[in-house]
Symmetry: C2
Subunit: 148 residues, 2 copies
């Protein structure tokens, strides 16, 4: 979700993403690009999970986060760098031996929890309804297959 190359300015479209489609998307749905920017952040489960962890614990070291989330070193490293770049987390490097690096939320990162909470609340309230809907849908489909 993160590297939506085709959304970035000046990026050439790689084969498979035709120019027409992109232009159409931006032309017709002006808010789409902005919405996509939000989604590129909130849609990335590791970003969200890291923000939540840091919000709960305050300060965490690299390997603490890793153990906490069951994330691979690679993704943790990449995601933390992005979050730091976006001004969502602080990175503090202690040049000791062995090295020690601490991560915490910036005010911006903390403010992100609010909209996240709304989403979580909605999910809590409505996931059961969704599960029911799915069950109905799947049963419907099954009976149709039978009669066919």
């Amino acid at each position: 979700m993160r590297n939506r190359k085709w959304l970035q300015e000046g990026t050439f479209l790689s084969p498979g993403y035709t120019e027409g489609t992109v232009l159409k998307a931006e032309g017709k749905c002006k808010d789409c690009s902005r919405i996509n920017e939000v989604l590129s952040r909130v849609g990335d489960r590791w970003s969200v999970l890291i923000v939540i962890s840091l919000a709960n614990y305050g300060i965490l070291r690299f390997n603490e986060l890793k153990r906490n989330l069951g994330i691979s070193q690679r993704m943790l490293s990449l995601t933390l760098r992005e979050l730091e770049r976006d001004g969502m987390v602080n990175r503090t490097y202690h040049p000791t031996i062995p090295p020690k690096v601490e991560y915490s939320l910036t005010p911006l990162g903390k403010s992100f929890r609010e909209p996240l909470k709304g989403l979580g609340q909605w999910a809590l309230n409505n996931l059961p309804a969704i599960d029911q809907a799915r069950q109905r849908y799947d049963e419907q489909e099954a009976s149709e297959r039978q009669s066919a």
Copy 2:
């Protein structure tokens, strides 16, 4: 973002997802699976875009949505089916010639707009700050490369 197979019950882990990692993730971060369920919905840009479009226009036909969003037929078809299955959109088929299918939001789908709004508001307020942070970060990085 949608098919998080490894989150579904009874799904066998495909190669590349070691059992250890998954268990660790679920063991240490109890909320993760729930959070991921939300993300699997909100993290899908097409789902969100479709919900927003339908919220704005009330009722839309297949090709109206297609033109509106610049989405491919394939993705529109797949996403609409998922949304219908989740009880977020109504599908009304008119067996005329040529056929006509109308899509609209269910109450559940409408209720989803609220948390979405919170997110959008946050984005509107903070994307400039993020852009600034990125610029700072990138300039910093550039100057470090120079001195090295």
